[in-house]
Amino acid sequence: MSGSYFSAIFGKSPVRPLQEHMEKVLSCVSELSPFTKALLGAKPEEMTAHYEKIVMMENEADALKKELRMRLPSTLFMPIDRRDVLEVLTMQDMVAGSARDVAGLIIGRDMKIPRSMAKTYKKLVKRCIDAAGQAYIAICELDELIETGFGKVERKRVGRLLVKLDNIEQDTDELQVLLRSQLFELESELPPVDVMFLYKIIENTGTIGDRAQRVGSRLQLMLAR
């Protein structure tokens, strides 16, 4: 006799796995900080070590993503839309992906950041990591959201977290503009191909912030339902 069929009505909530995935994404993105430090300090060995860590964690995040996708059948009845969960997940994964892109490009082309841009670039990286961190904080509110049945007070709280995320993302936009103008000043002194790729790096780094913000907007859509 088992008699345990009743417990089978409770499915596995996607919230915890979603948060774990974002946690992994955040640690992957955070690795960009020591990576950039090594880059600006011209320490190639350290850079490679951090790059490898980034790749490893991106792969781990990818595995978590696939695992969660697998156990989200359409017969699950959840307080959040299945499609929203999957889209938040994809967006989270893309945050890690863009961190890997940036590091990969820098390693692959053995790029240097011009001295006059170093300080601003470091700031940009920091703000992008902040954006990912803020997105993680917002995603951490998901269990509180479900606890309160997406109540008004809790939704407002999450709303405030998302406003802060938007502000951080705006910072990253402004830093990108500043970096581009700094690079423009240097254009004539640098090899043209390097210039092209420096623009690319600025853009790719900014993408981290953009995508972190889009994690937030997806979360906002969940709240609106």
């Binding site: 069929y5 009743f6 049945g149």
Partner: protein
């Protein structure tokens, strides 16, 4: 009657076996939410179940028992041949018990209530005649199987919404929990006491008027509430635990509430499901005693006691293991939702018990859980499993019926020596 002692002995044995089965299997579903949300340890759950299943069965099990005993079959149809009803009721008990044994071995979601009702209707139609069944009563019972999960789902939804408005979705959930949780505890005590009292405790020598019942119910509600307030006071609030999940301490207070709703759930389950075991026994006993299909005779107290003891025996010998298994598998349910589901289900079931309608406790609880889910309160529910549970009666009714017919003719072949029919 020639085989009177045989009949009585078999009835008591089958009834006890059926009650044992209910205690071994069914109780787990009623208690699992409390164990799963860690409001109760296994030991506490077993203690609560034993005490309140017994109380529910003994104090409030009479109404449904009399429905099973004489509400489904028209006594006039077997007046000339009361023994047929004895065979039928024995067959129904045996059929339901066997079917439950098979189903629970296979892990099928099967309701005791559906099994026994299907079995009684089955033997009556084939063994006596289509007219022997009170079809209007059967229709009411069948309708209640649809209505009861809906009602408890709606109640659970409303209760959970009120919890959000009053406690969870406020600026200070902790102090609101302290303020409002005792009111829900009051509701548990009040509802259980009221339904039990209104339906009369004549069989234990207590006969109260309507107003007296209401007053006693309010008093029991208040007493329950005071115990609750005392228990909440003893809870240690540790702000550090709220770092990861901000409602950890609030949930502890709901944990206290859930101890009370678990008692309510066990009481409700006992009051409705004991009838599945002792209803047929009661019918047999009254025929054997009077030699006729007596409709007026009162329900003997010892029969309810037999059922109550059987359930506790089932719980003690086997049910505790099932509770442990089922409880372990429910990890996503916190006390704030578990209590809402339990309070809704328990209220629905005791109301059904009071009106004498046999319903499925598990279905009612599943309905309540869905209600909380619809209020966006539960992480994930497997709709396919829910559907399978809800539709299980489509197989259970005919299965119980067919088995009962087989046993009916077997018993008739062995014992019957009356006039040919």
């Amino acid at each position: 009657m020639e085989f009177s002692l045989w009949y009585l002995g078999l009835a008591a044995a089958f009834g006890l076996f059926m009650a044992w089965g209910i205690g071994a299997n069914d109780v787990a579903n009623a208690m699992a939410t409390s164990v799963g949300s860690k409001a109760l340890t296994i030991k506490q759950a077993i203690l609560v179940a034993a005490i309140f299943e017994f109380a529910g069965a003994f104090l409030a099990g009479g109404q449904v028992t009399s429905t099973i005993r004489k509400g489904i079959i028209d006594a006039a149809s077997v007046e000339s041949n009361p023994e047929l009803l004895i065979f039928g009721m024995l067959a129904a008990l045996l059929a339901a018990a066997v079917w439950l044994l098979v189903a629970s071995r296979k892990g099928w979601p099967v309701s005791t209530t559906h099994s026994i009702v299907g079995a009684i209707v089955g033997f009556a139609v084939v063994g006596i005649g289509v007219d022997a069944v009170h079809w209007s009563k059967v229709a009411t019972i069948a309708a209640s199987w649809v209505v009861s999960p809906l009602l408890s789902g709606f109640l659970a939804f409303a209760i959970f919404m009120s919890v959000q408005k009053l406690i969870l979705d406020t600026k200070d959930p902790l102090s609101n929990a302290r303020k409002y949780v005792p009111l829900y505890i009051f509701a548990v005590g009040f509802i259980l006491a009221l339904v039990t009292l209104l339906k009369g405790l004549k069989h234990i020598g207590l006969d109260l008027s309507y107003m007296q019942s209401v007053v006693v119910a309010i008093v029991s509600g208040i007493i329950t509430m005071l115990i609750g307030i005392f228990a909440i006071k003893r809870i240690k609030i540790d702000p550090d635990q709220d770092a990861d999940f901000r409602f950890t301490n609030v949930e502890k207070i709901f944990g206290v509430l859930m101890i009370f709703t678990a008692c309510g759930m066990a009481f409700a389950h006992g009051s409705n499901d004991v009838a599945n075991a002792v209803g047929p026994v009661a019918a047999i006993v009254s025929i054997v005693k009077t030699g006729a299909v007596a409709q007026k005779s009162a329900l003997a107290t010892w029969i309810l006691l037999l059922g109550a003891v059987g359930i506790v025996l089932g719980l003690a010998t086997y049910g505790w293991r099932v509770i442990r298994t089922v409880g372990k598998n429910i990890t996503e349910l916190t006390p704030s939702r578990g209590f809402a589901a339990e309070l809704a289900a328990a209220s629905t079931v005791v109301i059904a018990s009071g009106t004498g309608i046999p319903i499925s406790t598990t279905h009612t609880l599943v309905g309540a859980v869905l209600g909380v889910g619809i209020a966006r309160g539960i992480g994930a529910l497997n709709l396919r499993v829910v559907r399978n549970i809800m539709l299980s009666w489509i197989i259970t009714l005919p299965a119980g019926g067919i088995l009962a017919v087989i046993f009916f003719f077997l018993l008739k072949g062995v014992f019957y020596n009356g006039p040919a029919i």
